[in-house]
Structure formats: C-alpha cells, structure tokens
Subunit: 343 residues, 2 copies
C-alpha cells in the first residue's frame, strides 16, 4: 500500500557551527509517479555519514553544496514499489543516494540491486556499501599496509574505522584503534579483534597511551578525525609511513580554521606520504571489493556494528549526535519497515 | 705543495635556536697521510645546505646527529693530491661529503670523479650535485608535474628551487616562484624564466599575490620552507594536487614546534597527496639525472646561480646567513684555490 504523501528532510538554513535540529525541516510531499523507465523506491534505511556536514556548507568541494530547501543527501536502502525500468520489479531491494526521504524516484543510472539473502539489507549502507568501500580502497590503495606493520585507525568503532581495522588485521598488521570511551574500546578489541585501543576520552594527551600501544611506532594511520588526535599520531609516525586522510570529523563543526602544531617538518626526513581520497573515485571497482568483503562478512571474518534509530523525523538528532561521537557503529535511520529483518 | 696543517670546523655546542658563530670552532690539524687504497683530497668548494641545521640537533633523524667536537658534515668538491686508489690520480677533481675541512681522506667508496671540462667544478656541489638531484627526483618522482599544470616552488632562487622551477618549465608547466625580495624575484622571472614570482617580503599575507600569480590554482607545490608561506600555498591547492616536502627552513631554528592553522581537512575532498623525500634514496639513479641535467646546463637550457664566499673560517657566518635567507643562489665556500676557475 503506497500512501498519498511521504516525508522528507530538507536543509532549512546553514549552521555556522554545530547544527541544531531546526537547521533541518521535515516536509510532507505527494508521492510521485515514476515516468517511463523509472522506479519508485520506498526507503527502508537511510545512511547518516559525516560527509553530509560538508554539504551543508556553502563552499565548493568535490560535490556541490545542498541548497536551502533542498533534500539532504544520503544513501538509501529501499524497496522498489513501482517500476517501469527493465530488470527491476516491485519487491527488489536496491541502494542509491536518494536523500533523506521516505520515497524517491530513480532513473536507475546509480541504482544498485541488493541480494537480501547474503546479509541484512542495512549492510548495503555500511560494510557492504559506501563506508565499507571507503575502508577497503582507502586502506589498500592509499595506505598500503604490509604484514607486520602497525596500523592506527581513529574513530575505530565507527562505520569506516571498524572495517579498516579488521581489514588490516586480515592483512597481518598490528592494529591499534582510537575511540571515545571504555565501551567503544572494549568493542574494538574484544569484538573486532584489534590488538589495542586508545581511549581519547581517558586523557587530554593520548601520546603516552599511543606510544604504549605502538611500541614499534606507527606505519599506517587511517585518519577519520583530524585535530589533536591526529597530531598525536603524526608525531609517532615511522620512516616511510603512509597516512590515508579519510575525514576530519573533529573539525566539521568549526566555524573557522583551528590552529595546531606544525608537524610537517619531520615528514621530509621520514619520507612520509599523506593522501586524501574520496570513495566515489573507486566506484568503478566496487564490485571486486563487495565480493571480497561479502565473503568475509558471510564467513564471520568481518564483523560490523550498526547504530539504528527509527523514524525519519529523528534523522537530524541522530546526525547531530554522530558529529559529537555519540553513535556506536554505523549510524542509520530506519525510515520504513524492513521486510527482511529477522525478529 | 701540501701544507703540514689544515683547518676544519667542528660543532662546539648545540644551539637551541638560531646558531651563533661560536657554536662552531675552527681547529688546526696535521694533514693526514692516506693509507693503502685511500686518497688525500684538497677541498676547493664546500657546499652549505639547510639540512646541516638538522644534524646539529641531538635528535634521531634519517642521519645521526653531529657529535660535539665532530667535523660539520658537508659536500666537498676538491682535488686529489695523493692517491693509493686505482683510478684516481693527483689533479683529479672529485666530490664527496667530506665535511667542513680543507683536507680530507677518502676510501673511495662514495668518491665521484668530476669532468672539469663539462661545467665549472663548483656545480658538482650544486646543479650537477646533490641539490640538482634533489630538484630532479623530488619534482619528477614525488610531485609528477604534467604539462599545463601550475607548479609553485618556495625558496625559488635557492639551490634547489631554481632547478625545480626550470625543470618544471622544461616540462611545459606554468611556474611560480616564491622568494624574498625584488632582486631575487627579478632573477627568478627574468633570468630563470619562471612565469611569475611572489615576493614574500612584500606583504605579511602572500595570498592575494599568490592567487594573482596562479589564476588556475596550484597543482604542484615543491616546498623548501614550511611555515606561513606553505600555509598560503596549501590553501590554494587544486583537486589532485601533489606536494613534495623537501625542506622547511623556516622552522629549522625554532626551539619548539610552532603553531599554525589546521589545513589538512580539505586534503580529503581534494585528494591531495603530500610526500616527504630525501635525495639519498635516489643516489643509485644519480647518473641518469646528471647526464640529462648536464646536457641542459651545457646547452644553456638550465641556468644556475651560486653564492660563493671565500675562506673556511667564513663558513659558519655564511651558514647562519643562509638560514636567514641572506644568500642568493646555491651557497658555497671556496675553501681553497680552484685551478679550473676562468678569470
């Protein structure tokens, strides 16, 4: 039963610092009719990701900013409910960046069909979706860890960090996470199998804990956070270390550029390589990564943790909390019923 | 006529900040006798280079620090005066890192024979020596400029910078130097053929001048200076820009790590790659670079400027001045008579 109307979340205004709930607006819309070779998708899971904060700024980046009044961007796992597109039929589970809304039209160009028998369908927003792909290519292509090396990953229990660390373990590395709080750290070591985890909330200076966890220094740093945590890791980099710059969530709400210590000097003698990357550059190679990670997920070698809240109206609050580090695992919003969810 | 004694400069104490002349000590020594397959070299040109400041610190880096009382390290172009080493005879011009001294023994392992007919022998300390090699591999291997791109190089009239910019011009790039003062900038554009030069002494904020000189942004930054100049360039990097970290002379005299703006955030979306390097990693491939650059020097396609002072006793003062940017071109000390110098 397709309703007459659906809800969507648009950007109401641009927050200068930390977003507030009324920077977003929930709107009611008439459910559209797919035309020609289009499909109508009923959203089930909405992915919430730190990159969205960047789109809220009126600054040119790798993607254009969201306009005021425009639907917030975001990945959706949903169900085809109407289809004029060959190859897609009602009931098919699909994934696409369709935005923060309960229904959406797709022309199919970016639509990915998901096999709901392989893993919970929400994973198509996470470990078997963009965040998993980010971890996979960021680690293997940018950071290039070698067996025996020490790999440090920040936001270690987060959507990307949890995958990075497990992939590095599979690669034979010593893996050290950085996460906020004893509960997240215990998850990272006890559930995910990292060798150690540094709790950045336990001390204002993580350097001693980091040094203790990395007795041979740091060969690879997969950075999701930036700021003071990253400073501490950069000070402990080994000769020929590689830094994969994936995100800097600690800086996203800053109204102006923060100051920090100048740390590039030693990069010369240590021949350190630091490189930013964006997952979309690797989309043409996503099938290989999903096939490999899908095998590891099914065999239990790769674990994942999701943090799911219910109801589109709760997306702004969940998003704001994620920017504060309040989520525990891949943040998602269950926007509609999941027919594949096991009770 | 070989004298009985010679002079050498040793490190007298470790300066916490800017070195002073009495951080060095000139000593008189008996000229040694080469034993077995060794040569005795009479120094003619001593190369002064920013990396030496790093060796004066008691900090582990890619090379061990100079001990107190030990001869300062440095490249020497000199003349063989005694030889028990097959292939080397008195009168041969050679190059090796033999230190701040008028005579030195070499076992030949690192000794490079120089053809004095090809170019002034001092160039074996500069454009056809370590600094030329630094420019060549730093630019081509680390920064990888493509024709049509904009290349910015700091310390543009310096030993490495002047070569980097000319090599980038040969590669078909738009080349913008950064140098201190109108005289250096005029040299960089008028003599070396850079497209533009930003005078960092003309304003406390080089951003407007840099933007004007780089209307299409910056694709490659070859960094010799670090600090605020580098901050300004990093803010103007294009998508997929590359930064070759060669040195950070602005920071070498700092007693403690300075602060500066956090600029890594935009590296993610812009997929910027930043990499430190050391010329010694490329020594096994030096012959190819010297052959190519030697051709360009002889044909006049590559120009160079040296700043030569006379007398070993003036090496400390010249070195201190170089760290302040007072030199104009590749800094060298003429330690002894150059038999190949044209009057």
């Amino acid at each position: 039963m397709i309703p007459n109307t659906y809800r969507r979340v648009v950007l109401a205004r641009r927050p200068p610092g930390e977003p507030k709930e009324d920077d977003f607006r929930v709107e009611q819309q008439a459910v559209p009719e797919p035309a020609g070779q289009e499909v109508l998708v009923r959203a089930i899971y909405l992915s919430l990701d730190p990159y969205m904060r960047g789109r809220m700024r009126d600054v040119a980046s790798y993607a254009p900013p969201v306009a005021i009044g425009e639907v917030m961007p975001g990945g959706i796992v949903g169900e085809v409910v109407k289809s004029g597109l060959p190859g897609f039929k009602p009931g098919d589970i699909v994934e696409e960046r369709l935005g923060w809304q309960e229904y959406a039209i797709s022309n199919g160009a970016q639509l990915r069909k998901i096999d709901p028998g392989l893993a919970p369908i929400s994973t198509a927003n996470g470990i078997l979706g963009m965040t998993g792909l980010t971890a996979y290519y960021g680690l293997f292509e940018i950071a290039q860890p070698k067996a025996g090396e020490t790999v440090v990953v920040s936001a270690a229990s987060g959507a990307v960090g949890q995958v990075v660390g497990q992939l590095a373990k599979i690669s034979g590395c010593r893996v050290v996470g950085i996460a906020g709080g004893a509960k997240k750290c215990a998850f990272v070591t006890d559930e995910l199998g990292f060798d150690a985890c540094v709790d950045y909330k336990a001390s204002s200076d993580i350097d001693p804990a980091l040094k203790a966890a990395c007795p041979n220094g740091v060969d690879v740093y997969f950075d999701n956070v930036g700021g003071a945590i990253t400073d501490a890791v950069l000070r402990n980099l080994n000769f020929f270390a590689r830094v994969a710059l994936c995100g800097s969530i600690s800086q996203y709400n800053a109204a102006a550029s923060e100051s920090g210590p100048r740390l590039l000097g030693p990069f010369v003698g240590r021949r350190i390589r630091m490189q930013g990357f964006i997952v979309s550059d690797y989309l043409p190679r996503s099938a290989a990564a999903f096939r490999q990670m899908g095998e590891w997920v099914r065999s239990g070698r790769l674990k994942y943790r999701e943090d799911i809240v219910d109801g589109l109206e709760n997306a702004p609050r969940a998003f704001i909390g994620m920017l504060r580090g309040e989520n525990f695992g891949k943040m998602q919003v269950r926007v509609g019923a999941d027919p594949w969810l096991k009770p």
